[in-house]
């Protein structure tokens, strides 16, 4: 499933990260790599972004990007 479908306050392992080259690079820079465990902290209202946590860093991700991250 994609990160978008992950329930709130649940952990999951990143399987793959898709999307544009620039976005992929930005995610790597923030420490998101396939194999990492991340937690979905919360979602914003109005179809807003998701807040995820990975190794102590919280990152806000837009829905378009979250849809391209596969987790399990």
């Amino acid at each position: 499933m994609t990160l978008l479908e992950l329930p709130e306050d649940t952990q999951a392992k990143i399987v793959s990260i898709g999307g544009g080259r620039g976005a992929q690079q930005q995610l790597r820079e923030l420490g998101l790599f396939p194999g990492d465990t991340i937690r979905l902290v919360r979602r914003a209202a109005f179809r807003g972004p998701l807040l995820v946590e990975c190794r102590g860093t919280q990152i806000a991700l837009g829905r378009g990007i979250a849809a391209k991250i596969r987790v399990e």
């Binding site: 080259r21 992929q24 820079e29 420490g31 979602r43 179809r47 972004p49 190794r55 837009g62 378009g64």
Partner: protein, 638 residues
């Protein structure tokens, strides 16, 4: 000796810089506060060194213009030693950049900043082991409190003198093989460490490819060949392969040198987001915070403005008696006093509380939360939430707001965000809104103008994004932990920003007032006003306000500060009706950005865009002022 501070965004480089150089670099708790470098000469012991505060960069890839600044400075500006500042509480992630820096071939000192925060998170770091593994000195630091600063710089100077070059990390065999072969072809042809250049070429770094195209075309073809080989064998692009391997090394290094105890009990920091980012409560909190902020600025400003104006009016009245009301001497003295009064009585009472409040919100770390809350709404404008940071900065001053658009990756997003940022009512315009509309008509008038402004900015944004359609990749923004700001930093920062008004704007205001006095004495103001009569007539304003519109282009606060003098009254309400005040304020809020903002726009976007923005805002200002005038007429407000 030149020392460069390098590190990921929001790790405290500027805080460290300010500890040593005095408050010269703006700091705040959100990633991307510094978008250009600040250089300062500081004396350390008996030696004077050049200290450079570089924009935060997650890697040396240069994803946005702010990051490219850091990258090219490191490669080209003869840095003697790099201080790699890392947020120790985020060490695992920060080591990726540290490992990348090793290839620069420069002496490096690792500064583990925010040790107190790391401790709170239960992270213990074995410094000796980390230092041995990396081959660089490691110094603990709490820059905010100035702890460890002295030792850090002593270590950095020593490292520079010994010019110790740390060893770089090893990638897997196929990558190493490619790097060796590219580096062999490169040799010194790019006047960079060959291994560094080889890595960048293999990653497909745009800037490095450009360099190689001219200086080492053979290496470029080599790199392209190896890159496609890697894609074939690993199934991923070369930059992803390299980054993943580096990341794996970083993680191993972290696990070998740091231990993470079970985190302590959740404290206020962890609970605050439950309220402030709540799907319903978050927006209520946002509105409440904005309302309180607004009330604070209005309350303080009004408390000071009234008695101050009375005081200065008394002085002018006495001068009129002493010097004679129609003499040149009185006109000049009146100009000087009006200029000083404009600063003390009208601008500063609103500016100071506003800047204090803004500092508080910035340093606590609330701004990225606002970006999170409004991202969904911003998408309907075709921008993502990160673009909200330039907007919020715009409420302080449009110049840093325009510069802050450098944190956006897409050129098209930068154009739209910069254009919209110039329409955000800055602190100078705030003084007009509060000092005129709110002061005479009550806080509701100010609230109305701000709401109107938000709507116009949103509509303009929606139209601009339709004109330049392109899918934005979406928001990727680090959410920093809340930090309790120190009073000292807040005061230093507010002072730093107020000084900009005192040093730059106030002299212009005083000279402007004297010029206006002279114009009035020589009866030349009439011609200026006559020239602008078609505009002022159209807006239903007295001709005499014409000159203030001209001065308002220099600095927006001048428009109001000089209004009393231009109208020749101590009580604007006796000359201007409520409707005229509102029309005037709305026009001032929207028309042409001030000179400093135009200059910043010119630097960021070029001449065509700048002229475009000037034309757009003036057109908008006239249209909106007319609509407001019409609407007021309909509801019966003259």
């Amino acid at each position: 000796m030149r020392i460069a501070l390098v590190g990921q965004p929001n790790c405290g480089k500027s805080t460290l810089f300010n500890q040593v150089a005095g408050y010269k670099a703006l700091t705040a708790n959100f990633p991307g506060t510094t978008v250009t470098y600040t250089l300062s000469r500081v004396s350390l012991g008996r030696e004077v060194v050049e200290l450079v505060d570089l924009p935060g960069t997650y890697s040396l890839a240069g994803a946005n213009p702010a990051e490219s600044v850091a990258q090219s400075f490191l490669l080209e500006r003869g840095v003697d030693v790099v201080i790699n500042v890392v947020d120790a509480s985020l060490l695992a992630r920060s080591l990726d950049l540290t490992l990348e820096l090793l290839d620069l071939g420069l002496p490096i000192v690792l500064a583990l900043n925010m040790m107190d925060e790391a401790q709170r998170k239960g992270i213990t770091i074995d410094r000796a082991q980390l230092s041995a593994a990396l081959g660089v000195p490691v110094v603990p630091l709490i820059a905010r409190k100035g702890i460890g600063v002295r030792e850090l710089f002593a270590t950095a100077r020593q490292a520079a003198r010994q010019s110790a070059r740390p060893a770089s990390i090893h990638f897997s065999r196929d990558v190493e093989n490619a790097l060796t072969q590219i580096a062999a072809v490169l040799d010194q042809s790019l006047s960079l460490p060959p291994r560094l250049a080889a890595i960048k070429l293999l990653e497909g770094n745009a800037a490095m490819r450009e360099r190689a195209r001219a200086g080492a075309p053979l290496a470029l073809t080599q790199a392209e060949r190896f890159a496609s080989e890697l894609v074939a064998s690993r199934g991923r692009p070369a930059d992803a392969v390299i980054a993943s391997e580096r990341h794996a090394v970083a993680l191993n290094l972290f696990e070998a040198t740091a231990t993470v105890a079970r985190a302590g009990a959740a404290d206020w920091r962890d609970r605050m987001d439950d309220v402030l980012l709540h799907p319903v409560g978050g927006y209520a909190a946002l509105l409440l915070i904005l309302f309180l902020f607004f009330q604070f600025v209005y309350g303080v400003g009004r408390l000071v403005e009234e008695p101050m104006l009375t005081l200065f009016d008394g002085i002018v009245a006495r001068l009129a008696v002493a010097l004679g009301e129609t003499t040149l001497a009185f006109e000049l003295a009146n100009g000087v006093v009006s200029g000083i009064a404009g600063g003390i009585a009208i601008v500063l009472p609103y500016l100071v509380p506003f800047l204090l409040g803004l500092s508080l919100l910035e340093d606590i770390g609330y701004l990225p939360r606002v970006a999170f809350l409004v991202d969904g709404l911003m998408h309907r404008l075709g921008l993502h939430g990160k673009a909200v940071i330039p907007f919020i900065l715009g409420y302080g001053c449009n110049v840093p707001a325009v510069m802050a658009t450098r944190i956006l990756e897409e050129p098209r997003d930068r154009v739209i965000a910069a254009t919209l940022a110039t329409m955000v009512p800055c602190a100078a315009r705030l003084t007009v809104v509060f000092g005129l509309a709110a002061f005479y008509l009550g806080p509701v008038a100010a609230l109305g103008i701000y709401t109107l402004n938000l709507i116009v900015v949103a509509l303009t944004g929606a139209i601009l994004t339709r004109l330049m359609p392109e899918a934005t990749p979406g928001l990727i923004l680090e959410m920093p932990v809340y930090r309790l700001p120190t009073l000292q930093t807040m005061l230093a920062k507010s002072y730093y920003r107020v000084r900009e008004f005192v040093v730059v704007a106030w002299p212009i205001l005083i000279v402007g007032s004297i010029v206006l006095s002279l114009l009035e004495f020589l009866q030349l103001d009439r011609w200026v006003n006559l020239l602008l009569a078609p505009l002022t007539g159209l807006l239903g304003l007295p001709q005499a306000v014409g000159t203030t519109l001209i001065f308002g282009v220099l600095r927006k606060e001048l428009a109001l500060a000089m209004l009393r003098q231009a109208l020749n009254t101590t009580d604007v309400a006796t000359v201007l009706s409520a409707g005229q005040m509102l029309t005037f304020t709305v026009f001032i809020v929207f028309y042409i950005p001030c000179l400093a903002t135009l200059a910043a726009l010119y630097r960021e976007l070029g001449r065509r865009q700048t002229l475009g923005v000037a034309a757009l805002t003036t057109g908008l200002a006239i249209a909106i002022a007319l609509v407001v005038r019409g609407a007021l007429w309909v509801v019966g407000i003259q």
